[in-house]
Amino acid sequence: MLPIEIIYKIILILAVFTVTLVVAMYSTYAERKVAGFIQDRYGPNRAGPFGIFQPLADGLKMFTKQEFIPDSSDKQLFVLGPSLAMLTACMTGVVIPWGGDITIGDKIVKLQITDINIGILYLLGVVSVGVYGIMIGGWASNNKYSLLGALRASSQMISYEIALGLALISLIMMTGTLSLGEIVRQQDEGLANVVYQPLGFLIFLICAFAETNRAPFDLPESENELIGGYHTEYSSMKLGFYLFAEYINMFISSALIASLYFGGYNFPFQHSLGLEGNMLSMVQTFVFFMKVFFFIFFYMWVRWTLPRFRFDQLMNLGWKTLIPLAILNMFITGIVIGYKNGFFNF
């Protein structure tokens, strides 16, 4: 008989995995709905009531389409590309705290798969490896548009990772921990981190857009200049994996923004509601998902508002604006922390 902790972990992993996939699935539906509503249309509304079966229809279409591997492509890498993209997208969810502690029997467990003490570094590592899926797929297609898309993706992601990391450093300096669970717990006692780190939040948000290849930073797949970018040659479910990975990344990065800067599962006056234990945790999880859904909506809202950047503008923004700003933010944070700790009292 397995100990209850291990059974709980297995259930939690499966639950998180399922929730991630379902949310990503319905993000595709939400994307089309939001796009429709913003453009004075209705969006998909034929498959089932309000079109809620549209993702299933899309998935079925993806699965039954012809599986095509170009003759001149590198076969193994061609398959490896989308697999890596999907794998790295699914790996990020494990360090996110989805809610407060819950009590099962006499044991108190966290609603977080693992609270490793280098949580943020783990995330950065997985994100930085995530670019390989796009690069390998783009190169293996043996198509110049795919290659250009892959080159754009890699240079864009490397550039924005730096600003992303620097923005996070200010946050880490402030909280003094790399564990996501601890960062969220600290926001229970004080205000949400966005109050202390507005500039850091803005930089993080912009970089998150660039890292997920979402508009206005969707240059790797810009359809009007690169046809489809790195996934030009892909069809069937391999294409589906790439598109799906993008939506999973969007979900996870929304969860990250909510956890790091907007208090995670905490909400104002949560301890004066008279809720206790598991009840409170459920409400907290609900609140957390509301925050996450808002940011997913925000991603879509931005996508259907802003036009795409030009590549030199993208690089200028990343290297000449965001990185100096992030360093400035780091300096300011350092000075404030030093002042608070009495470093300047001579």
């Binding site: 509503f37 913003i38 453009q39 004075d40 809202w301 508002t305």
Partner: protein, 190 residues
Amino acid sequence: MQLTNRSKQVADTKMTWVERIYLPAIFKGMMITISHFFKKKVTYQYPEQKRDIAPVYRGQHVLKRDDHGAERCTACGLCAVACPAEAITMVAEERKKGDEKHYREEKYAGIYEINMLRCIFCGLCEEACPKEAIFLTDRIVPTTFHREDYIYGKDRLVEKMDERIDVSVRQTQNLANFKKNSEYAHNKLK
């Protein structure tokens, strides 16, 4: 020339600091898109909700029968000559004895075909017809998957006896008056 009062004078001046950080402009744009989110949608939900079509709309053709149910067409070929897209083909046949009930004139169209992919729905066949046999209606040509399905023969062009097609809707008053002229008297029932 000023078409609307929404035009904006653009100038190639250097942007100010506030303009260069772009965030106010982005915020403004986001507010515009979110306002559209709650606006009334312009979509027509097609099969349930149809748009009004123009009174003179020219759709799928019909070969009319007269009040006794005889085909009006005499296969004179004027419609095929008038057709700019050369979509009409016909083969004339002579009326046999005993077929007077089915065909109004002594000569009739044994085969009458319109290629709906070639047809440009200009309505010149309708204007050319001396026998008031062919009309364009307000029906829409349905789509299919095969090219052959678009060649409409007499089976689909000639109106059925039990479901007569009303073509008076899209006939303008002018045309109706014109058709009352004495040169069209032969079309009237004897």
